[in-house]
């Protein structure tokens, strides 16, 4: 029986054309881009070409792209890189004026429902006593309000990090509006040195790249995280967009690669694949068609699932990724639903994190004001390029039976 894959937010398969483009870089074209000889230069050319394609996609300069090992590294580099650079700047300034100023810890604003790659970076810096942090809460619809971010800004705020599309509930955050608001704040505060006394804006756009505007000027962002394996590219490669002139403290040291911002021999095949994946994605007309098609399928899935009694959609329906469905079924446990789906050859995911190490209910759903018992029965379906109407039909055929079966087994009536 064919597998029905509805977990595209976890990862996507590698597009055939992407794989084809990558393969020579494992064998014939195996050179190190830093080598002077022909093989090396061949690899260098391939990396440069991928960088150009991606720069076109993001509407940025090639030097503004730092290739990394993926979304998590990019998020870590953005948060730690900015903060540690700020700390050394503040120290230098204090040394110059020879006064020890109180309360000069940099302040970060992020949201409570960020990806853990951001959240844990911020929490660690907080525990190390290096920063102050404010965690903005989303509204009941799973949207971070611009006014709440603005209200959290303090004199010592140096970084705002808000994700573009939430990975669990697919809600789309007002990145452009937050970016513009921060720009206004920066204009107000008459900055002399562009790397001190201003607020930087980072967005984790990993879940957004497939469907939403990625023009960094349109978005008014200074830093942006992307990952290849969410857009039909390979795992193990991502990037951090870093606006020209914005300084960060390098985290991986020991080489001059990536404009001296990330050491280590380039993952040439991975970067080549990333470039190809972005090139395919950059075919705008294709994206729009794809987006509408997927959105229709998603709506069918949401409407069908909501017919099951005692179910509700998590997160705004209006401001939502066209690929995301996240629904809670009261009195049915998420992992049990997943296991039953798996027996029907349907791959989905649970927001309840109950499958792995953590037994805590989803921090995303809790942050929106849901009760733990409402979180435990949440299921996420994420659609992709290959999703068909027949697949959605199959899910809608089996889900009511699964939920009914589990509810019949439950002592809670």
């Amino acid at each position: 029986m064919k597998k029905i894959y509805l977990d595209h937010a976890a990862t996507t398969l590698v597009d055939d054309n992407v794989l084809k483009k990558m393969l020579p870089y494992f064998s014939d074209k195996f050179g190190n881009p830093s080598s002077i000889h022909g093989l090396g230069q061949e690899a260098r050319f391939a990396v440069d070409e991928a960088r150009r394609k991606i720069a076109e996609f993001l509407n940025c300069k090639t030097e503004e792209i730092i290739f990394t090992s993926g979304g998590s590294e990019s998020d870590n580099l953005a948060i730690r890189g900015i903060i540690e650079n700020q700390i050394s700047k503040i120290k230098m300034q204090n040394d110059r004026v020879k006064i020890e100023k109180e309360n000069q810890k940099p302040h970060i604003i992020t949201s409570v429902f960020e990806h853990h790659a951001v959240l844990q970076s911020v929490k660690e810096l907080e525990e190390e006593g290096k920063i102050e942090a404010t965690y903005v809460k989303p509204n009941r619809d799973g949207i971070i309000e611009v006014a709440d971010v603005e209200a959290a800004i303090k004199k010592n705020t140096v970084l705002v990090s808000i994700m573009y599309v939430n990975n669990e509930i697919g809600t789309v955050q007002p990145i452009r509006e937050i970016g513009k608001m921060i720009e206004k704040q920066n204009q107000k505060s008459k900055i002399k040195d562009q790397n001190i006394g201003r607020i930087f804006f980072h967005t984790d756009a990993v879940q957004a790249a497939e469907y939403f505007e990625m023009n960094v000027d349109y978005l008014h962002v200074d830093l942006l995280t992307l990952s290849a394996h969410k857009i039909y590219g390979p795992k193990g490669v991502g990037l951090l967009y870093l606006r020209d002139g914005v300084e960060i403290k390098q985290q991986i040291v020991g080489g001059g690669q990536e404009y001296k911002k990330r050491a280590g021999t380039e993952n040439v095949a991975g970067i080549v694949g990333f470039g190809k994946a972005v090139e395919i994605l950059n075919n705008k007309s294709k994206i729009i068609n794809n987006k509408n098609g997927i959105e229709n399928l998603r709506n069918g899935l949401i409407d069908g699932l909501l017919k099951i009694p005692n179910s509700f959609l998590n997160g705004s329906r209006e401001f939502r990724s066209p690929a995301n469905v996240n629904i809670s079924f009261l009195n049915a446990e998420g992992e049990s639903i997943l296991l039953n789906l798996d027996m029907e050859n349907i791959a989905a995911s649970t927001g309840s994190a109950c499958t792995s190490g953590s037994l805590e209910p989803s921090h995303v759903l809790i942050s929106m004001g849901l009760h733990p018992e409402q979180c435990h029965g949440s299921i996420r379906f994420t659609l992709g390029r290959s999703t068909t109407k027949a697949e959605i039909g199959k899910v809608l055929e089996v889900m009511p039976k699964i939920v009914e079966k589990l509810r019949n087994m439950s002592p809670m009536k």
Binding site: N331, E333, L339, T355, L359, P372, M409, P411
Partner: protein, 141 residues
């Protein structure tokens, strides 16, 4: 999912033993809570039998469970009920989470609490039965 759970757990998950409720059960034990995601309820029927020595002994003649929870919670309830069905109350009270976990086979360490819940469920049902008997005796007096 085979890498997450043993085949035995999956088998019990697919075909749970002793699933359901006993109307007019002699003892009922409910453990866990919806907040943490797992709720188990164990129903028992208790009957007295005569041992070879002539001494009477109370044993679990029937047992059923209802569980709201993950795969491990459902499988551990099913396995626990199988382990104590037909056993005397004294023996059933000796059932430990360790035993249940060993029967379950492979599962993520974080799921160990499921076997604890199953042990507690059985104990609580037996306690409930004993409490009821005590009250009955007092009433009769």
């Amino acid at each position: 999912m085979e890498n997450l759970y043993s085949e035995k757990i999956m088998e019990h998950f697919r075909n749970p033993r002793n699933l359901g409720e006993i109307k007019g059960a002699d003892g009922v034990g409910t453990v866990g809570n919806p907040n943490c995601g797992d709720v188990m309820r164990i129903f028992i029927k208790v009957v007295s039998r005569k041992l070879v020595s002539g001494k009477p002994e109370e044993y679990i003649s029937d047992i059923k469970f209802q569980t709201l929870g993950c795969g491990a919670a459902i499988a551990s309830s099913s396995i626990a009920t199988e382990l104590v069905k037909g056993k005397s109350l004294e023996e059933a009270l000796k059932l430990t989470s360790k035993q249940i976990a060993a029967e379950m086979g492979k599962f993520p360490p974080a799921k160990y609490h499921c076997s604890i819940l199953a042990e507690e469920g059985v104990r609580k049902a037996i306690k409930d039965y004993r409490k009821k008997i005590k009250q009955l005796k007092i009433l009769k007096k």
